[in-house]
Symmetry: C2
Subunit: 142 residues, 2 copies
């Protein structure tokens, strides 16, 4: 399957970790706009220079690695509802999926050294962060 | 650094590959709304059941692994402009970044067996696809 690259190239490296009051999947809302709290992201030292230019007020897309997810799941009943029809994971935002990349829209509230405070973030404490991108209003909001 | 999981858990697996008329990075627009063509995504057999429920007209977020990207880059001059100020990659959409995950918004135009035609897609031919999620209008467009 890995036709275009070696295994090493396909490995994510955490650029930081989420520090949140959410301690478990049961406590996490399905989406950030459903009551998720703010959280800190601690960026690891080798990646701090990649933050240059970020400022409070920025709208961000935060990419996490949902380390508690189940990677063998291909179909789910959406939003944890037993009466929902079975749906392919690529038609849902289920955390359980072959590559459990979490996508979170949040506002950057505060920068304190290597730490970013963002609001909201529905990821649990300890979740690895693998990328941060600015929201493109012309595309993600068109 | 891998405090919460073993290396194997941190490895992405392609769920499919992009088939596009774009053959190289030089030919790819910076963003999908800047003249990118439509493209096919060929989903690999083990993951096809994850498509259940997707239908033409769906607005998707397609996650790719930008296999031609440079992972050591932490600062860039945005949009390939020599006169732009140096900016941290996490404040830009540069493909060159520690984890080169591409995020593409596209409309699902057609489904043909294990192939999805999407429009637009600014990824080059052969780019691995690692996830597909439905756009959440309440969040990514709020």
């Amino acid at each position: 399957m890995l036709r275009f690259m070696n295994d090493g190239d396909f490995r994510l490296q955490p650029i930081g970790f989420v520090r949140s009051r959410i301690a478990s999947r049961d406590q996490a809302p399905c989406q950030g706009d459903e009551g998720a709290p703010d959280a800190w992201i601690e960026i690891l030292a080798p990646f701090v220079s990649g933050l240059l230019g970020l400022a409070p007020g920025a709208e961000l897309l935060i990419f996490t690695w949902l380390h508690r997810a189940e990677r063998q799941t291909l179909q789910v009943r959406p939003r944890r509802r037993a009466d929902a029809p079975l749906t392919g994971v690529f038609a849902t935002r289920s955390p359980d999926r072959p590559n459990p990349i979490g996508l979170h829209r949040a506002t950057l509230v505060e920068i304190d050294g290597n730490r970013l405070r963002v609001d909201p973030l529905e990821a649990i404490d300890g979740t690895p962060v693998v990328d941060i991108k600015p929201l493109l209003r012309t595309i993600e909001e068109r």
